[in-house]
Homo-oligomer: 518 residues x 2
Amino acid sequence: MLASISATTINPRQNNIPLIQSVKKNRNVTSLRIYARQAALVAEPPSPHKTQNRTARLAESLLNFVHLHFDAPTNNSSYAGHGREIVDRRHKMADPEAPIMSPKEDISAKWNEIHTSDRYENLLSPLQPWLRREIVKYGEFAQATYDAFDFDSFSEYCGSCRYNRQKLFEKLGLSKNGYEITKYIYAMSHVDVPRWLERSHLVDTSWSKDSNWMGYIAVSDNEETKRLGRRDIVVAWRGTVAPTEWFEDLQNKLEPIDESGGEVKVEHGFRHIYTSKSETTRYNKLSASQQVMNEVKRLVKLYREKGEAVSLTITGHSLGGALALLNAYEAAETISGLPISVISFGAPRVGNVAFRDKLHKMGVRTLRVVVKQDLVPKAPGIMLNESIKKFEEITGNLDWVYTHVGAEIKVDVRSSPYLKRKFDLLGFHSLETYLHLVDGLVSSESSFREHAKRDVALVNKACGMLVDELRIPENWYQLEHKGLVKNPYGRWVKPTRDSEDVPSLHHINETPCPPCLD
Amino acid sequence: MLASISATTINPRQNNIPLIQSVKKNRNVTSLRIYARQAALVAEPPSPHKTQNRTARLAESLLNFVHLHFDAPTNNSSYAGHGREIVDRRHKMADPEAPIMSPKEDISAKWNEIHTSDRYENLLSPLQPWLRREIVKYGEFAQATYDAFDFDSFSEYCGSCRYNRQKLFEKLGLSKNGYEITKYIYAMSHVDVPRWLERSHLVDTSWSKDSNWMGYIAVSDNEETKRLGRRDIVVAWRGTVAPTEWFEDLQNKLEPIDESGGEVKVEHGFRHIYTSKSETTRYNKLSASQQVMNEVKRLVKLYREKGEAVSLTITGHSLGGALALLNAYEAAETISGLPISVISFGAPRVGNVAFRDKLHKMGVRTLRVVVKQDLVPKAPGIMLNESIKKFEEITGNLDWVYTHVGAEIKVDVRSSPYLKRKFDLLGFHSLETYLHLVDGLVSSESSFREHAKRDVALVNKACGMLVDELRIPENWYQLEHKGLVKNPYGRWVKPTRDSEDVPSLHHINETPCPPCLD
């Protein structure tokens, strides 16, 4: 059905309701991809005098939406200047000794601007350098949940973190940020949303086939606390690298966030991952929600008793950004007087207008970074939300309309001279692409920041977005021999994981020791 | 056209010549794959009484050929016994301390059997253990040309060997074989057969964009010489890992092997790679042929002057097996009295009947290992050779018919309890699959050898043929981070190659020192 959509098929004089329903049913990304490409090429909004009735206007809105949001690949002729820019920048990139980060500055006096200003006025356009640096820091915390995740479906530890919490930041080169992980978070993989989470192929997997490592809670050390002006508790939620399978499975089903939520509704699947638990599992006798809230409450109490200012910053990419919002909502409802921010990357919509309004009313500040070409932030209801909002008279009720929360930082793949101009669904959604574009962002009107320092090679960790001139292989983030090693007898074997990196129930079921920060 | 072939289309009562011509034109492997699958499923040989004329018999022959050579995947129900066998063997495989090689035995009195017996009688069925061990040894020499090859098209050394000749065997764990490499071989990559060889994406590549590393010449050390009963010179030719692009480009054009060749004709593309040279290149002022023959002649002279018995064993996989035959032909014509063997794996046909007869007459012994399911040994002329040979009355002339040379050892993917029963073009052709199946071979009637010791994990180096129960990842032979390393400044960079591993003209243009064997 989708493949047959064309300027001819979408005739505003026809009744298009059945067509739109069929679009809604098809959530297959491959189809969407084909559709988006075709739509971008063929869709021309019909001229105004032809839009005679409500149905026709709805169709027009849909067409406009498609046209605006999906750009056809730039043709080669516009590449000339791009090529020269690359050459000009090459010598800079080739300098292997160039610093990879701007120097840190003391932001203790600035941080409150986020919590006192409404919707981050004066901070985003142009993007304040100190805020950009913070966004990249939190983004790297989210990226760590991918970099350390055991994706190997033949591993007995598939779905766990490859390192224990004491080693993770050191292994990933993030110790520089001055935080310490105090707890890992697990979520059930048996949620009724199929294929969202990693499952081991092995039936007799020895850690837990019921749970996935979903992130961690960390807290700033004394030096970083001084620089920030408060003890910062971070929650980083793991998402999904590829918007393939789970995207397809989004059920577009809004349900009340809790018994007392009233009109506040959120997507069923996200809420299910956040709240599921089972007595028969090893790692999810408590839900992810309970694990996180217990630890956050403990840390807040610990530092408040010391007389410190405390903040909570929740971050995540993709699905992780959705979980971050649910987490922020619960924290704001549960802990009074705690400044809470969410910094999300490529996150889908989570709830309805009431959810958005309640979050805002409770003082949760949300900064959503969105790559213009990424499809995931347009989900759920990729085709319908914007269109329907403009035609709310059809229902007169916004309860079932997914709505984004907070302030948006929009970045554009085409702003970077380092990125290919090709349609690449995975590349657009990749968190490293996001971090690269944030690093180069000054404002939507400016060109890519000349003094951006972040290593561009990182972009190609899990995609192939970098232009060939940079000579960085695609999808290069991989273990040597996929983790096999040659043992002294000459056999290639999967090494036993260091016992200290084996997931431990201790982290979950017992109260951890206070972090050794003093 | 191919997609439309079915039991209905191939009607023996129709004139099928145009159909077969269209099959010949299409050399696209993907199409072949689809075709083979479909053919295996739909092709039933027509009943004899329907085959009325020559054309009909040709069609029948083609159908039989297709039917015999491509097996439809086994359905799951026949897996039960297979699964149990796997489980039975699992504890053996799981023993990481199991030896990976049978003990060596002295074969000094046995080797001549190959050169005195015609077509290896009494050695192949059952396969003599000492010969199996030798076949695996030479196969590992051929495998080394893949394992050490720089496939990275963004590397400035793309198409070269990653290690210098002194280090190669040590790096790959092949020092145990007791050989020392005396010279590397290079061939031009600018041959008029497109896409056969690796080419760097980089225009300013610093070693040579004109040449590819194509293998090496090695010689047995004193200990191995004693065990073998003669000083063994080995030539190992690199082939192509994937029968994708070059397969498609096979020109099926026979041409005389040289001015004096008379009726002896070989495939144009193979001969072109073997003989091309250019004064404007750095590594191919001499052709691969000249490089090899100069070194072999030097070594033969060196050891004959010491009064030693000398032999030449030429090995290669795929394209490398074709080059091995051309090399053997030239060596047999050039050096009198030298015992020459070719041990090839998954090699295509190279020449016509006269080529085969001349090789045999000159005393070249050839052992071709062929996986029954592999398509490459059926090339060139994948569909036509067997059929046409049976209908030689059509032309009465075998000059243009490609013919295999020497004795064949046929192995069957279905003989191994470790391999999946799936159609996998790359897996069937992979040299590691070949070595695994040879290691398990007793005879075509026997089941997989119980005491086979070769590490089965090796099979999945560059394919995914191993059953899931073994828990070995697919395509696991890969560099950590595709060769990128984090430098002390935190940037991911391509490290400079050790200067001693940079390809050196010294190896090509100057006479190397004699190997330090004494």
